[in-house]
Amino acid sequence: MVRFENVGMRYGLGPEVLRDISFHLQPGSFHFLTGPTGAGKSSLLKLLALSHRPSRGLITLFNKEVSSLARDDLPAMRRKIGVVFQDFRLLDHLSALENVALPLKIAGAKNSQIYQHVAELLEWVGLGRQVDAKPPTLSGGEKQRVAIARAVINRPQLLIADEPTGSMDAEMGLRLMYLFQELNKIGTTVVVATHDLGLIKRFGNPVMFLKDGMLTTRKQDELPSQFSRDGG
C-alpha cells in the first residue's frame, strides 16, 4: 500500500527536514504519527498526500513508484487519498454540501449521484441539518467533520489526517476517532498525525514516532508522557 525507502526531504536549498525515512503500511492498517513540534510530521504527511516530492529515496503508493509518475497520473492517484487538513481548508463561499461534493464534481460524477451521496455522508457525520451552512457559520468541530466528509467522499484507500482533534473538545475528538475506526474497518488505511498522546494510548494502534526528521516505531509504553517545548 505505502512504502518509504530511505526518503529524505528538504524545502528548496534548506536543510533536510526528513532523513532516511523508511516504513511500510499494510492495506487496511491504522497508524498514529506523532512527535514533538518541528519533528517533520506535516512534511511526512505532504509526501503521503502527493503534495510534495521527496528530495531523495523511493516512495511507492498503491504499487506505483511516485517519482516515475507522469503529471497526468497524479490526479487519479490523489483521488485514492483523502486528506483532512489541520486547518480544514474548506472553501468558505461554498456550502457544507458543496464542499463535500467537490471531489466528486472534480472527478466528473453526475449531479444526481453526487447530491444524494453527499447528503447521506453528511447525515452520517452528524451534519444532516447543516448541509446548506457555509463554513464561517460552523463551529470548529463541525468544520472538521465537513473536512472529513470531503476527504472520504471518494472512498479513498488511504486517509491522512493532520491533528484532526486539535480544534475540538475531548468528547468530539473521541467521536471523530470512532469515525476513523469505522472507515478503517471497511478497508481504508488510516494515518493520523497527532500531538495528543492520551488519544494514542487510548486507541492502542501502532505509532510512528518522528524526532529531528528521523522516524522510529515505538510501542505505546515507550512514548513520553508529554512533549516538552524543546522537543521530545
Binding site: 503534495s51 490526479p75 490523489r78 487519498i81 486528506v83 487538513f85
Partner: protein, 295 residues
C-alpha cells in the same frame, strides 16, 4: 455559452481586486485597436479606389505648338485611340472646359486665352482589358507629334506607397496593442495564481487536473476581456461616426471619410471575440505553465 464564459466556481476570481480594472484597460486597448482597424481598412479601400479610377481613366496631352494645327492633331489622336482595342471611349476636352479646370488656381479674370495650354483628350479603358499602355504611348507619339499618354503612374505609385506605409504602421499599432494586452493579462493571471495558491493546492489534493483549474482562470479572464472590449468598441464606432460627420461637413475636404467596407466592419465586430480568444489562450498557457512547476 455561460459554461464557456461563466464564473469561477471554486476560485472566486470575481472577488479579486487585482482584476477589477482589467476591463477598463481592455476597453482602452480595443478602442485604439478599433481606430487602427478603421484607418487600415479605410486606407486600403481608398488605395483600391484611386488605383481603379486612375487605371481606368487616362489623359492624352498634346503639347502646345503655335505653329501646328492643334485641332487636327486632336482629331487624329481621338481617331487613333478610338480604333485601339481595349479603349472604351476617347473624348477631346474642349478648350473652354480646360480653362475652367484652371480657374480655381489662376482666377476667373486671368487672360487664360493667351496661355500655352496643351490640348487634352480623356480616354476611358475597358474594364478587364489587358491594354499595353507603354506601347500605346509610343504609337501615339509616332502618329501625332507632341502627343503623350499620361498614365498617372508616378503619382499613383507615390500615393500607394504612402498608403501602404500608413497601413503597415496601423498593423504595427495593432500588434503592439495585442502584445500589451497579453502582457497585462499575464500579470493579472500571475497575481491571481499567487492569491489563490491555497485553494489551488486543495483542488490539486482532492484530485483536480491542471486543466480543471486552468478553465476557471481562462473562462473568467475571457469574460472580463469580452465585457471590457464591448464598451471600447462602441466608443470607437461613435468616434468614427463623429469623424465622418465632421469630414462630411467640411466643403472640398482634403480628408477622406472613414469607409471600412464589409471586411472592415466584420473585422471590427470580431474584435471583442478575438480579444476574448487571445486572452483565453494566453491565460491557459500561463496557468498550465505555472501549475506544472507545482507538484
Amino acid at each position: 455559452m455561460m459554461q464557456i464564459i461563466g464564473k469561477s466556481a471554486e476560485l472566486q476570481l470575481e472577488k479579486d481586486v487585482s482584476t477589477r480594472y482589467l476591463p477598463v484597460v481592455i476597453a482602452a486597448m480595443i478602442f485604439l485597436a478599433a481606430l487602427a482597424i478603421g484607418g487600415l481598412f479605410s486606407l486600403s479601400n481608398a488605395i483600391s479606389d484611386w488605383s481603379a479610377t486612375l487605371t481606368g481613366n487616362l489623359t492624352v496631352e498634346i503639347a502646345f505648338d503655335p505653329t501646328a494645327d492643334l485641332d487636327k492633331k486632336v482629331t487624329d489622336a481621338v481617331e487613333l485611340l478610338s480604333k485601339t482595342p481595349g479603349v472604351a471611349a476617347a473624348r477631346a476636352i474642349e478648350q473652354e472646359e480646360t480653362l475652367k479646370l484652371l480657374e480655381p488656381f489662376l482666377g476667373r479674370n486671368a487672360a487664360l486665352g493667351d496661355l500655352p495650354i496643351p490640348r487634352l483628350i480623356e480616354v476611358i479603358i475597358d474594364e478587364d482589358s489587358a491594354i499595353d499602355l507603354a506601347a500605346l504611348n509610343e504609337k501615339l507619339g509616332e502618329a501625332v507629334a507632341g502627343a503623350r499618354l499620361d498614365i498617372h503612374r508616378p503619382w499613383l505609385d507615390k500615393m500607394v506607397l504612402l498608403g501602404r506605409s500608413v497601413q503597415i504602421l496601423a498593423a504595427a499599432i495593432m500588434l503592439l496593442i495585442g502584445a500589451v494586452t497579453v502582457i497585462i493579462v499575464i500579470f493579472a493571471v500571475r497575481t491571481g495564481l499567487i492569491m489563490h495558491a491555497e485553494v489551488i493546492q486543495v483542488l490539486h489534493l482532492i484530485g483536480a487536473r491542471d486543466q480543471y483549474i486552468a478553465e476557471q482562470f481562462q473562462n473568467y479572464f475571457a469574460r472580463l476581456s469580452f465585457l471590457g472590449a464591448l464598451p471600447g468598441l462602441i466608443v470607437a464606432i461613435i468616434v468614427m461616426f463623429i469623424f465622418n460627420f465632421l469630414v462630411g461637413s467640411l466643403e472640398a475636404s482634403m480628408l477622406p471619410p472613414l469607409s471600412l467596407g464589409v471586411e472592415g466592419i466584420i473585422a471590427l465586430l470580431l474584435l471583442p471575440l478575438m480579444v476574448a480568444l487571445l486572452t483565453r489562450f494566453t491565460v491557459r498557457r500561463v496557468v498550465l505553465g505555472s501549475l506544472e512547476r507545482m507538484m
